[in-house]
Symmetry: C2
Subunit: 394 residues, 2 copies
Amino acid sequence: VNRFEANLRIPGPTSLPDVVREAGARQMVNHRGPEFAVLQNSIVARLKTFYRTENDILIVTAAGTGGLESAIVSFLSPGDKVLAVSIGAFGDRFAKIATAYGADVTKVAFDWGKAADVARVREALLAGGPWKAVLMTQNETSTAVTNPIAALAAVATQVAPDALILADAISGLGAVPFETDAWGLDVVVSGSQKAWMVAPGLSFVSVSPRAWEAAATAKMPKFYFDLAAHKTSAEAGQTPWTPAVAVMFQLDAALKLMEQEGLEDIWKRHAAVGAAVRAGLTTLGFKLLADPAFASDTVTGAWIPDDLDWKTFNGKLRKYGLAVAGGQGALKGKIFRIGHLGHVTVPNILNAIAVLELALLEMGRPVTPGAAVAAAQVAALESMGAAVAEGIAR
Amino acid sequence: VNRFEANLRIPGPTSLPDVVREAGARQMVNHRGPEFAVLQNSIVARLKTFYRTENDILIVTAAGTGGLESAIVSFLSPGDKVLAVSIGAFGDRFAKIATAYGADVTKVAFDWGKAADVARVREALLAGGPWKAVLMTQNETSTAVTNPIAALAAVATQVAPDALILADAISGLGAVPFETDAWGLDVVVSGSQKAWMVAPGLSFVSVSPRAWEAAATAKMPKFYFDLAAHKTSAEAGQTPWTPAVAVMFQLDAALKLMEQEGLEDIWKRHAAVGAAVRAGLTTLGFKLLADPAFASDTVTGAWIPDDLDWKTFNGKLRKYGLAVAGGQGALKGKIFRIGHLGHVTVPNILNAIAVLELALLEMGRPVTPGAAVAAAQVAALESMGAAVAEGIAR
């Protein structure tokens, strides 16, 4: 491990606060014993406040992709008509899982970097069906775009009221505004290594009463990812299979930190950080991938300029302790991404922008020293509602 | 968490050595970066020495049950004839997964507490087929029985040479003698929270070349547990979905300890510990569940006497810091189990026996103080090849 890599700015796993890290070093307990039951019940109750839901929440030991699979196989049957709204690699993945298990999937895809267009989704809903489910992504990690998921859910509810709404909220929930119940989302998937500031290994899935009704007749083959089995076990304070106990210890510690900060302050922090990243990257001359109207506050993607040698540039970033992510799928080698969710502050991000600036300067690129940091500072302050004196800041 | 519960004697999660625990507190790294690739490649190479195999080993982020599911869905197709050899709850589970995904499963079941009878397995193989796969359990955690898996594999190879042999070695591999290649096992599943002394969250699956050939035409639906996708990613030093990074840090630390001790000394330690537990429990008056000829050296099950109030007894054990496991499936409420695998020494087990003895004495049971500890000491010493002077020990 690079001992200088202190600045982990990828969109998950995110950097862990010290108390969270340390909770990962706790001794094991009996996962069928009373202490575990108390732990799981407490975690689930607290997750519900962040999900803004009264639905059940199940804890699945798997990466987020496993959570997505649980959302497909627990509620659907082969042949079910499913509309998959995709704006990137993770929307595609959700659709692929449904296809792999025999759903009759119609994909409505949008250009990468754009959000889903509600009118086009409405047309697609009207053009087919009857829909058993609509799949949507809250925050598309591959393109750094946040969908207007409230509006997408509203149109699905209006046009296809019987369809279950299954939402991938893995890289946004807990960081940016989200309302499971108010938006009418039946199944919502998140993952420990994102906004929750915890190591990877757990996925969380909320399930509405009408999704449970669908589960009773769902015929897709399943075993490990059967959420009904998770519900039965959870009622006895257990999990059906041995859970990632150490990650649960970390989650318990992280939820305490999140509760201390408060949900709305967490949202404000991510908004300020997102604004700072976008201003900083733009000032450095990078072109951002995402439509500005739907830019994500948890991850930002920027095009790699044709005349920038990525390998050299990324090597310098790593030398200075900054880890960023590359592109995924069709964007591999074309963009880089900065993750800014979970345990990340405005000063953390100013540091990342300063390192990017330093590396560009070192490579002789036409960059004004300090300008990107200044732009990021101003953007963050403005996002937080602070007035920046014109003469000083501009 | 019970702060006095120092003696975690359940068959997984097992207690973690301090250096392993502490590795769980490390900061995250980029799971698509070079440090992770080095870590995964190193872990896989070292796992192979414990598996005694030159086959590929894939790391799956899931409980052991997820590893079993990956073994089924990656190599089989709906309708495939599968012979499932079951001696308990985990053998039944392996069969259920195959059935859930549409395999045509014939189960050969044996009384709980008995090992699989090789002659009966031969008859079952001859009576049906053609077999696409034979499922077997190395060490049945629910009944504390170790199967004669070398002999079972040999008969499968002889009678059904085209059948893949899929082995659940979750609770034995790394603790008791095991030979993946010499025994001709195509797919072997293990789990981090057992002999490996690591938190739960990872499953390991070895795959033979002929199993990969079968994977190319396997038609069971799959996504998360597709081992071929894991192989493709592993070749690039990655995993297809975000891995349980902190558990991998722990595994790295645990493998170092296992290498320092040496595989054969680990086997000897488990043999001594197993002998000690059986002698101690028997001396305390408990009747053991397992056929003595096939008693497991990683877990021991004992019948709860009709006149022993289990709740009171277990409450006392917990008060004295000892956590044991209950029965599973048909044995729930009828037996208790002591796990003795991974980070466990003869002195640890003498402590557990002493606590059991103390609790029985406190309940007024007819137990001779010290007698069970004495019997456990003698059994352990004899297992380790030490002569115990007659006049002193008996």
